[in-house]
């Protein structure tokens, strides 16, 4: 694969991932050397209460240490801001728990390098291989697919997937605004309304290698409610902006 002229930042949000984080970073670095990518890994430590910070500091990667726990959205937002400020061309989100194998990285990067998409989402469901998540979670994902399709007219099969690559224009948009809590489904509506080209590619995901999911069963109702509200409001907000100003962003493809 080409793309050595692209500067890539892999943002890995980390909250209590002391068991998995070292492997995740090592795997990314292995792929980096294998494909000769111009790539940096940025681990965002979101006030982990375990030993994560000490582990991260010994790894071959960049890291941000948030002084206040912000949650996944706030941590990712820090990563995208970093990518924007330090002039990266591509930003990739990869979870810190080892769910996203680094071997799949070229699949999400390739469409960005070739200029075929602004946002690439690694999807578990396009080809039914690898870890498929639990039944309840899949039910929720079906609901989000329906919600996204009715709002932006495009079906995203795996809207909760946190394995995604953004080009410079998308980085600029997320630099300005990124949802706080459970950002994945909401940001898809945000991208759709910015008329970004969203592409889903099939990837194989693993079961988490350590730690616990940020979404427990008790939180899932709140999760559905929050995401629905967030999605609807970001839709209304951007629609109004579009109506009043004609455009929803100052970010153009060359920024």
């Amino acid at each position: 694969m080409g793309g050595t002229d692209f500067r890539v930042l892999i943002v890995v949000p980390c909250y209590n991932e002391e068991e998995a984080i070292a492997t995740v970073v090592a795997e990314i670095n292995y792929i980096k050397h294998q494909y000769g990518l111009n790539l940096d890994v940025l681990v965002v430590n979101d006030q982990s209460t375990d030993n994560s910070l000490a582990v991260i500091q010994k790894l071959d990667c960049l890291y941000l240490n948030l002084p206040v726990n912000l949650g996944i959205g706030g941590a990712m937002h820090a990563g995208y801001k970093y990518a924007f400020r330090y002039g990266y061309d591509v930003a990739v989100q990869m979870d810190g728990d080892g769910q996203h194998p680094a071997e799949e990285l070229p699949k999400v990067l390739q469409p960005i390098f070739e200029g075929r998409a602004d946002v690439v989402i690694g999807s578990r469901f396009l080809e039914r291989t690898g870890f498929q998540s639990t039944y309840v979670r899949r039910l929720g994902i079906t609901y989000f697919r329906w919600l996204n399709q009715s709002l932006i007219g495009k079906a995203i099969h795996d809207s909760t997937s946190g394995f995604r690559a953004f080009n410079r224009r998308t980085i600029c948009i997320t630099n300005a605004y990124y949802p706080d809590e459970y950002p994945e489904p909401e940001s898809i509506v945000q991208f759709g309304l910015h008329k970004l080209r969203i592409l889903e590619v099939p990837v194989i995901m693993r079961e988490r290698q350590g730690g616990t999911s940020s979404i427990t069963l008790a939180k899932s109702i709140y999760y559905m409610f929050k995401v629905t509200m967030g999605t609807l409001f970001v839709y209304i907000r951007l629609q109004n902006k579009q109506r009043n100003y004609g455009v929803v962003t100052d970010c153009y493809s060359d920024t």
Partner: protein, 133 residues
């Protein structure tokens, strides 16, 4: 409803004035920001008005067709409290947004500081080597 007796009128007037003094003290000491004090000052003024204007509540209730005047107090008080709670939520949301921005900036600064320190350390380690050769 009987008009309020003079004792309770004096009591409520002094209570309202005491409350106003308390709010003023908080502002002077810098423990309460002026923008939040407006609503409390408005509340005390209303209290004072009704302490002096004894028949006021009855007359307003009659004019509005409210049968039992105290229920008007509850209605107004609950309404005011809800409005103020919404206001506090807005303030809180704004604060949360600011905290997020500040957290990001601090994280970036901490990272740059660490890099600068690392750089300095390397330089100071390098200096003796140069003088030796």
């Amino acid at each position: 409803m009987e008009s309020l007796p003079i004792v309770i009128q004096i009591l409520s007037l002094s209570g309202a004035l005491g409350f106003m003094y308390f709010i003023a003290r908080l502002i002077i000491k810098g423990k309460l920001r002026e923008e939040y004090s407006f609503i409390w000052i408005a509340c005390t003024i209303i209290l004072i008005v009704f302490s002096i204007w004894r028949k006021g509540l009855e007359q307003i209730s009659l004019a509005l067709g409210v049968f039992y005047p105290p229920s008007l107090i509850f209605l107004a008080a609950i309404f005011a409290i809800i409005i103020f709670l919404v206001h506090l939520s807005v303030v809180n949301s704004k604060m949360q947004q600011s905290v997020k921005e500040l957290t990001h900036e601090i994280a970036f600064l901490k990272k740059e500081l660490a890099q600068l320190r690392e750089h300095d350390k390397l330089e100071s380690l390098g200096t003796p080597l140069v003088t030796e050769s």
